[in-house]
Symmetry: C3
Subunit: 339 residues, 3 copies
Amino acid sequence: LGASAQSSVTLFGVVDANVRYVKNSGLSSNYGMSNSGLSSGRLGFRGVEDLGGGLKAGFWLESDVNADTGTISPTGKMFQRRSTVSLMGNWGEIRLGRDFSPASVHSFKYDPFGVIGIGGQNVTSRIPGAIASYYRHDNAVGYFTPNFGGLQAEFMFAPDEQATSNTGRHMSGRLSYDNGPVSVSLSYGTTNVAYNGTSTGKYKQLGLAGSYNFGVAQLIASMYRDDLPFGTYGTAGVTAGSEDRWLIGVNIPIGNDQIRASYVRTNARKGTAGYNDSDADKWAIGYVHNMSKRTSIYGTVSRVSNDGGANFAIAGGAPTPGGWSGNSTGAEVGIKHSF
Amino acid sequence: LGASAQSSVTLFGVVDANVRYVKNSGLSSNYGMSNSGLSSGRLGFRGVEDLGGGLKAGFWLESDVNADTGTISPTGKMFQRRSTVSLMGNWGEIRLGRDFSPASVHSFKYDPFGVIGIGGQNVTSRIPGAIASYYRHDNAVGYFTPNFGGLQAEFMFAPDEQATSNTGRHMSGRLSYDNGPVSVSLSYGTTNVAYNGTSTGKYKQLGLAGSYNFGVAQLIASMYRDDLPFGTYGTAGVTAGSEDRWLIGVNIPIGNDQIRASYVRTNARKGTAGYNDSDADKWAIGYVHNMSKRTSIYGTVSRVSNDGGANFAIAGGAPTPGGWSGNSTGAEVGIKHSF
Amino acid sequence: LGASAQSSVTLFGVVDANVRYVKNSGLSSNYGMSNSGLSSGRLGFRGVEDLGGGLKAGFWLESDVNADTGTISPTGKMFQRRSTVSLMGNWGEIRLGRDFSPASVHSFKYDPFGVIGIGGQNVTSRIPGAIASYYRHDNAVGYFTPNFGGLQAEFMFAPDEQATSNTGRHMSGRLSYDNGPVSVSLSYGTTNVAYNGTSTGKYKQLGLAGSYNFGVAQLIASMYRDDLPFGTYGTAGVTAGSEDRWLIGVNIPIGNDQIRASYVRTNARKGTAGYNDSDADKWAIGYVHNMSKRTSIYGTVSRVSNDGGANFAIAGGAPTPGGWSGNSTGAEVGIKHSF
């Protein structure tokens, strides 16, 4: 192990594991180990090359890391999180490959808990289970404008790669303004989807969010509207339809540490009467003790209250039987280390 | 991210993604994203240790990288491209593990487009679909002679690992001469194969190729003879038999850039009358703009003309129905970045 | 490939491939390539961060590398060997994730051949085939005491993650003393297991081992008791029950090289009369030529003698038919390179 000589690759990652307890009302409690309670586990390889004249080239290959079990992506994709090659100039960035959708950026950027752990807003969403490409798209062409004093836009187009159908085609964009304490963001996207076996339609994503950092606390508010034909999706047969999610959250610095809290309201829409009633609320609060910039220990508690026939439950609890529509309470304590 | 200290590992790779358009005659056109149009996507770890006295040890672990989708090998092999450990001395190199066959080196070395992208010669070959180990072999023992003024030979033996059958056994060798503008190569290999479910036979590979660099252009010519019993191969049930491929190609430098072009003729042989008639021609031309040694943008156009009942089509087009035997035209524009 | 700057990650690994010959008595001999005859093939990423005040954080992600075929874990786990995040202080180490069980450490630490290659003690054990988590456990919480002058203890608890059953729950511990020439170790573990389809019970592991380095030779002795309900295990339907294994081994240094040898006796217990008779002996001897600290070439010969109806055979030989209970003889010659 002597002296190395590679500026062309940066190796980076996050390993995050926690012990989680979940109690679904009326059922046995359960505990186990989970991962990515503070930051998504990952292992990545990335680099940027200066081509001169303001031009740069870059690549980014990033895997999941599920520290509790040693697995990566459940879909079998090695670089599930991102696999892109880019050209960058004073005109912005062109990016080709698998990447995060501009239409889904809200879901982690404007949530004190991101979309992960027991606190994340997607605990009470049917959409990630119904739409496999909810977060990321294969075959995507992305364009990012330069940053104009905090104002920036990004666009993605992912072709369907099908000669006689549009299923899978994705278009999305996001406009954001980040300057000092202020951050606001508006996004919209459409994906052609198949449902009920043979029907096709459009899944539309609308996001509006903002945050303001008062110093003593950062306040966050976000609204997410997932608009999709009511029906059965995917091979797992998830029944889903339109859904709104409102989130109010706060990050409170305590020295180097942080308190984070959020309230999420999920409102089912445009389906059957029963579906429309199946709403949910979620409260979450957590503490993050930052031992360094790279290492933190954290604890989170969270509670889901289902309305109507909604059956959202924190992952890791006792399996919920048909007709269950109670409360789900969770707690997790973990370690996050990045490199 | 402080200062590192590892001479023992070199991390390297290629990320190459492109936008591809394909039109199969009589069918809808299609477009999408593909990968590896200029250089095969890969992520690798390799190293060489000096043992003193002229001896060296080395290792090489190399994965596929399909940047468009974030996947690696379709076969599920992590180090599909190569996984070897070597000893090297003034007597040559002994190499153990999974590696490229000397009998297949021609297919990428003497082709302006390699075997990849829409320009590669294997677009009009049935063999890679029929013989799973066409390019690479597991369990291989390789020997490479020293380089004697440009003259070098390499050999591979991959045992079948079967007590009561020879199926899978591979032997191959290659003799090459590379000196200044001249490069010539002769290779031969045999692999024991199973076909028609229970029949066994020998798949014989013969390659002869050469190139000469006139400065204003490098001319390339290659001949490939794949000789195998006519029948049905593999779990996908590909019908294949003997096949010759002739290639004439050219690389023309334009400053740091490059024009590349090739003509490939595929001639089916020794099968049924219908099979023997199912030949094909392919033209391809492309331009490579090298932005640096590591980063290029490229564009390629290619056209396959099928004869008899041949049904070769550029990947990514509309699926060709039974009986289709038209033309396939493709274009792709992409970015390649290596590290 | 310029100068790098990453102290946060150490990339490490082993690539080990060999040519193996196996003769199972009464059957055709066979040869092929295998891997990990001297050291388990691996590719890993690890790092330690100093948090100040005696505290440290660390991570460890480690894959298998099967150099002969380019594959990693047969179970599809990317980081099959280890995926953990740790906090370390003068109070010891807390470790979360997938890791090696304290109850299985004996099997490689007190065996001149580890548990790998044709010489490893587990060639004559039914347990690794019956109990999938024999060596490693997902979801594990580990604790390692500080080292008190050579005395150290480690504990692991891996929850079952099941609300209405204990199947999969694992608890284990190990107490060891390593000081100068002396090494002794005692370990115990229990895992709740399912067998015969629907029955449940406890798999108990007891290990006691020690070694003494006389300078001219290191002597090793170990006893392993695997106590589990007699029955059929796993999806492969392996019939197994309790089993004792005694090992006597020796490592003899010859300059920088090494002779290693072992005798293993496997005694089946607490099953049917036929099962109890199915015992086995194994002899192994090998030579390791260390070309450097990182590179070795090695050769091993090994012979298994089955008693009663035991049918242990060295991997890679002709498949043994039902009722076979002969001898299995193997030889392998390989290269190991670490980085």
